[in-house]
């Protein structure tokens, strides 16, 4: 599903060059649920952004679904992102002046689905996260946990094969965090590959595989290789 080899990413400001990722290598198999942990500033978000084609690496090789994505145009990368990848953020990142229906509509619009198909998918994904009754509400009218469920619904509406979550429970209390985690596990059981960054060791342990990023690298090389027996479980 995902294969990164010696990925580098450095940010250059006027004087300082930060190496967010250095010789970063990782494989994730189809259907895996991988949790990513590591100290603050170690490069977890940078890794997710590169994996999700939001940023381009400074060097190295990245194969998504067997396709080399390093040299793709912005248009192609955006299309891949739209079709294959779902994002969930710590801050939910719902568009505040769009109601839930219209928020979930956003990726489907870029996908080019017709109105009927969009409606079908929006309703289905709202149902999956248990918020069908709230379609016309604005994000601000929901609790944090509900907002994150909408964000998950939005990420799922396009039926992506790959879900990237950056501290999805970071802003939630433990009860809501557990609900969101259960939802992610449920989604994973239905076949979606998930990579989730988290600070919570309990949640990290619930994933099939945990990798730790320290200083822009996977700390234990054994972690970066997908374990087939788990992947197929």
């Amino acid at each position: 599903m995902l294969k990164m080899h010696n990925i580098r990413k450095s940010y250059r400001t006027d004087t300082i060059e930060t190496h967010a990722l250095r010789d970063f290598s990782l494989e994730v198999n189809e259907g895996e649920f991988v949790s990513v942990t590591g100290p603050s500033g170690s490069g977890k978000t940078t890794f997710l952004n590169i994996a999700g084609l939001l940023e381009t690496p400074t060097g190295g090789q990245y194969l998504l679904d067997g396709q080399e994505v390093g040299n793709l145009s912005d248009r192609d990368r955006s299309r891949l992102r739209n079709e294959k990848i779902g994002f969930i953020f710590q801050g939910f990142n719902l568009i505040p002046d769009l109601n839930l229906f219209d928020n979930i509509d956003v990726p489907l619009r870029y996908r080019g689905f017709n109105a009927k198909e969009r409606r079908r998918r929006i309703e289905k994904s709202l149902e999956q996260v248990g918020l069908s009754a709230r379609a016309k509400h604005l994000p601000a009218q929901l609790s944090g946990g509900q907002q994150q469920r909408v964000a998950i619904a939005r990420a799922l509406a396009g039926e992506p094969r790959f879900l990237l979550a950056d501290e999805p429970t970071g802003n939630l209390d433990s009860l809501m965090a557990r609900q969101v985690m259960e939802l992610l596990e449920f989604i994973n059981e239905w076949g979606t590959t998930i990579v989730m960054v988290t600070h919570d060791p309990d949640l990290a342990r619930r994933a099939q595989r945990n990798i730790q990023i320290v200083d822009g690298q996977v700390s234990d090389l054994r972690q970066s290789i997908a374990q087939p027996e788990i992947a197929s479980a």
Partner: protein
């Protein structure tokens, strides 16, 4: 997708009503001001004879004061003396030629209780209508002989015919001009070119005449000019007294146009004019260096400064003002778009390409442009109404907006707002989405 972007734009504009109103107002004020000025300039520089521009010429002869050049743009009097006009009319070189001036008659009908009224009249040779492409509703122009003999024929404008005969075919009917019977030979269709290119000496933006009478009537009715009459000497041929002294004197008051369809014709006519001036010099007239001018209608408009330098400067100034408004709109748009950058970041994460983000924002600024343009038209219409009120009827024809100018206004507004939106939209589409997706 365009529909989606437009609905997003409307939502976004409604989301920040005050900022949106400011941006729309900035565009509208700029467009309104420049469209007011540009409309005036555009209407002023219309050439109703564009299609015949190459073959028509206004004729000027320098018969002026030997001690001082005429006070015109090319130092040749705008108009001719009567004797010169009559002499030129004898040439058979031009395909058509017109000698004419402005006059006025009191009009009434026999056995009618209609009040007599004064009508602006053009005293002209018969070719006037064909040379200037004046369309007839009924009848036509008068006979050739009426150009030199006193024939009491009259052509009515459409409006005059409506006033006198309720718009029906009045050819053959008689109207009283200054108490004398004139037979109607033709009725025009509506015709009111602006600027009035055939007569730029008397308010180029006034309405066309209400009556047209033959050129051969001068002596019979002692017709003077209602237009400009300029002279530099009171001398006149010996023995000429009274009206004859005016008619044959050295004042210029006759406008003269010719149609020369070929280069050969034009050359022959130039030779003819040269010969005529030489001949007159021998008789003691035309004491200045030999000089005449043949100007195409387009050149005639420039020469007469119908669109003056002031108007041109004003035109540029108004465009500069529009630019200032656009720059303001750029600043407002940039502020607005950057504030919405997190949303753009989310959209990028969900699959929007840079182009999609760029287009979305450009469409938002175009919506501002359309609204600003519509409001700008209203402002321009108000501005033109104000100018009409100030000028008290002098500029009614030019201080109006036609459809083309309204379309131009919306076009200008969209252009201005796209211009204003280009940079902000580009900025927002280039920003790295991940920057805006960090923890809020």
């Amino acid at each position: 997708m365009i529909g989606y972007y437009i609905s997003l734009a409307i939502r976004s504009l409604r989301g920040t009503p005050i900022l949106s109103a400011l941006m729309i107002a900035a565009i509208a004020v700029g467009v309104g001001a420049s469209m007011t000025v540009l409309t005036l300039n555009y209407m002023m520089s219309q050439n109703a004879l564009e299609h015949k521009d190459k073959v028509l010429y206004a004729v000027q002869l320098d018969s002026w004061d030997p001690n001082q050049a005429a006070d015109t743009a090319n130092e040749i009097p705008w108009q001719l003396t009567y004797p010169d006009a009559v002499a030129l009319l004898r040439s058979d070189i031009p395909t058509r030629q017109v000698a004419m001036h402005r006059f006025g008659f009191t009009v009434n009908l026999d056995e009618s209780d209609m009040r007599p009224f004064t009508a602006n009249t053009r005293v002209t040779t018969r070719d006037f209508f064909s040379l200037f492409d004046v369309p007839f509703e009924y009848g036509g122009t008068w006979n050739k002989e009426a150009d030199s003999a006193a024939v009491q024929s009259v052509v009515l404008s459409k409006e005059t015919n409506e006033k006198l005969f309720g718009g029906e075919n009045s050819v053959g009917k008689v109207v009283q001009l200054n108490g004398e019977p004139f037979t109607v030979v033709g009725v025009l269709k509506h015709w009111n070119p602006s600027p009035k290119i055939y007569d730029l000496n008397n308010n180029p933006f006034a309405d066309s005449e209400e009556l047209y009478i033959p050129f051969g009537l001068h002596r019979k009715y002692e017709i003077y000019s209602w237009g400009n009459t300029n002279g530099w000497t009171s001398s006149a041929p010996e023995g000429a007294e009274g009206y004859e002294r005016f008619l044959l004197g050295e004042h210029v008051w006759i406008q003269f146009w010719v149609e020369l369809d070929s280069a050969e014709q034009k050359e022959a006519y130039e030779q003819f004019l040269t010969g005529y001036i030489r001949e007159q010099k021998e008789q003691g007239r035309f004491e200045r260096p030999l000089k005449f001018a043949l100007s195409h209608p387009s050149e005639w408009l420039v020469l007469n400064e119908v669109l003056g330098n002031d108007n041109r400067v004003l035109g540029w100034a108004s465009l500069a003002f529009l630019l200032v408004c656009v720059v303001n709109a750029v600043a407002l748009l940039l502020a607005k778009f950057l504030r919405k950058a997190p949303e753009a970041g989310v959209r990028r994460a969900l699959g929007a390409s840079r182009n999609a983000i760029f287009t979305q924002h450009l469409i938002e600024s175009s919506c501002i442009g359309v609204l600003g343009g519509l409001l700008g038209i209203i402002l321009a219409l108000a501005g033109l109404t104000g100018i009409r009120a100030l000028a008290m009827g002098q500029v009614d024809q030019i201080a109006t907006m036609n459809w083309e100018m309204m379309l131009a206004a919306v076009g200008l507004a969209i252009f201005a707002s796209i211009l204003a939106g280009l940079y902000p939209a580009w900025r927002i589409s280039r920003t790295n989405p991940s920057v805006y997706l960090k923890t809020q």
